[in-house]
Amino acid sequence: MIPASFDYVRPATAAEAVQALASAGEDAKVLAGGQSLLPILRLRLAYPSTLVDLGGIDELSGVRDDGGAIVIGAMTTHDEVLHDALVAEHAPLLVQATKTVADRQVRNLGTFGGSLAHADPAGDLPSVALALDAELRLLGPSGERTVPAREFFVDYLTTALAPTEILTSIRIPKLGSGWSTHYEKFNRVAQAWSVVGVAAAVRRADGSIAEARIGLTNMGSTPLRATAVEQALTGADASVAAVTEACGRAAEGTSPPSDLSGRADYREHLATVLTRRAVLAAAGI
């Protein structure tokens, strides 16, 4: 279907983009890779007055080393993330999860920042950002601010981004030695959204698990951290039995949806199974 008409702006810098958003008013919408927004426009579920296309802003793309972290430009495409040496070295969890995002065509155009800003709870990358304790840089009319991933996702398709703000980059702290990660995704069709997904980062020390961070995909209206499991895993034996017991708490504090892919209780069960698999794989048990 053909979208309703809208004005189109393609600024060359991030500052100009913010300016364009401010002058376009409340109904303006930011266009990143367009892999979620364009279908919504074509279904005529969204009627933006103006689209501000970030595609022409070079400063928003690319990955750089920032000492203790890597900084990924918001407009870096999934495909660029997959082939970046810095990401592969310091955030292999992101590479693994990005590989499962939709199909090659979508990965060629879709962007890491766009995926986070769209905030579909079934999207894979928000929970990865949570598990990696990413920090998001936002630019607005009154300047820049940094929001931790934990505070960024507010509700279904809703983030901490103000209407006049854009997401410029994502800072992912490098995982130190002893950390290892795994993304476990369950879906019925190769390209489909996660029914449930689990992003796990685990630090092992002396035969036990010293620390764990678990991000859950599609277990609520936002991506979630499985804090009960994280607590139970801290100091736990690096054994199948101990991990299995801790991961049995994966559904605590979640409110998964019921839809055709599965009922809420099915998802709760799935979360415990996938969390166990993800943690065991990450910890190499």
């Binding site: 279908p39 919504i40 005529r44 509700d155 959204w193 019921s258 839809d259």
Partner: protein, 312 residues
């Protein structure tokens, strides 16, 4: 879809009851924005819902269908239609007041919500979230009206993250809504899907699903109503998952039709909703281009047959 919210307001039950009956104050909460007209127990208004990039504006009417002073219960029926043809929403809201100590009243809002129309390219059914948002807004608004400006947070369970949302200006804590299938018949749903692109103009009838008491018992019985809703969502997701709902189905249909055209001279008719127009306009062109090939194939077959006969 059935939603349940409850909150506590710092007002005596009789005082709260009076506010609840005041249409001018309560109706704009139904659920959301503005009241256009009031006529006795009937009123009309507009409700706006915003979910990320999605914006829906429901215009419609509502009315009190029951006011039970003894049980402190009101029932409101509401129907609305999206201003841009994105389907309909209808709700039967039952609000019940219960005394909660001397100077506080617990308000339980049970909603039988029905939303039809286009779902979207989302990881999960967006309609449940639209519903939660609608009713979350209503409950928050009601809490604000009933409690004046000082609304104490309910000493209830912690608000679940999904509902803590709601852009709640009021401080009332809203309980996690229980989503369960309702017994109402969802006739309008498949119609909305079959319409494909068309606005879901089908009227929605909200068949009251069981008594309020039954609802209060909170039986999470999955029944017919939930199914068609999710069906619709999944229906579009099936095409949307591959992220190009418009273009994706076309390619395979196209090749299929040209294959048929070569052999039988017919264009294949597809069951797809969207591509049909494109196909019917492109079909003849494909046929025209393939005609020489088909002719050549027939000639080749005839020649082959002749040659073989000669050899034999």
């Amino acid at each position: 879809m059935q939603l349940e919210h409850s909150f506590t307001v710092p007002a005596g039950i009789e005082q709260a009851w009076q506010v609840l009956l005041d249409i001018e104050r309560v109706a704009p909460c139904m659920p959301g924005a503005s009241l256009d007209t009031v006529d006795g127990d009937d009123f009309t208004g507009t409700v706006k819902v915003r979910l990320g990039p999605i914006g829906l504006t429901y215009k419609g009417k509502a009315s009190f269908v029951e006011k039970d002073a003894a049980a402190h219960r009101v029932v409101i029926d509401a129907q609305g239609k999206d201003a841009r043809g994105n389907g309909t929403a209808s709700a039967k809201v039952t609000a019940t007041l219960e005394p909660d100590g001397e100077q506080a009243t617990k308000v339980v809002v049970l909603t039988d919500l029905y939303i039809t129309g286009k779902p979207a390219q989302f990881g999960r059914g967006v309609m449940v979230d639209v519903g939660n948002k609608l009713i979350g807004q209503f409950a928050d608004c009601l809490a604000g009206k009933l409690g004046g400006t000082e609304v104490a947070p309910a000493p209830e369970d912690e608000a679940a993250p999904s509902v803590a949302n709601a852009a709640a200006p009021s401080a009332a804590a809203v309980e996690q809504p229980a989503v369960a299938g309702s017994g109402a018949a969802a006739v309008a749903e498949p119609a909305a899907l079959a319409g494909g692109s068309g606005p879901a103009a089908a009227e929605v009838s909200v068949a009251p699903s069981g008594s309020a008491a039954e609802i209060a018992a909170g039986e999470p019985v999955a029944s017919a109503a939930e199914q068609p809703l999710t069906d619709v969502v999944a229906g579009v997701q099936a095409t949307a998952d591959s992220s190009a709902p418009g273009t994706d189905p076309i390619a395979p249909t196209f090749t299929a039709s040209s294959g048929e055209a070569a052999s039988s001279g017919e264009t294949a008719s597809s069951g797809e909703v969207e591509p049909i127009d494109l196909l019917s306009s492109a079909g003849p062109a494909v046929l025209k281009r393939l005609a020489p090939i088909g002719l050549a194939a027939v000639l080749a077959a005839v020649l082959f047959a002749i040659l073989r006969r000669r050899q034999a």
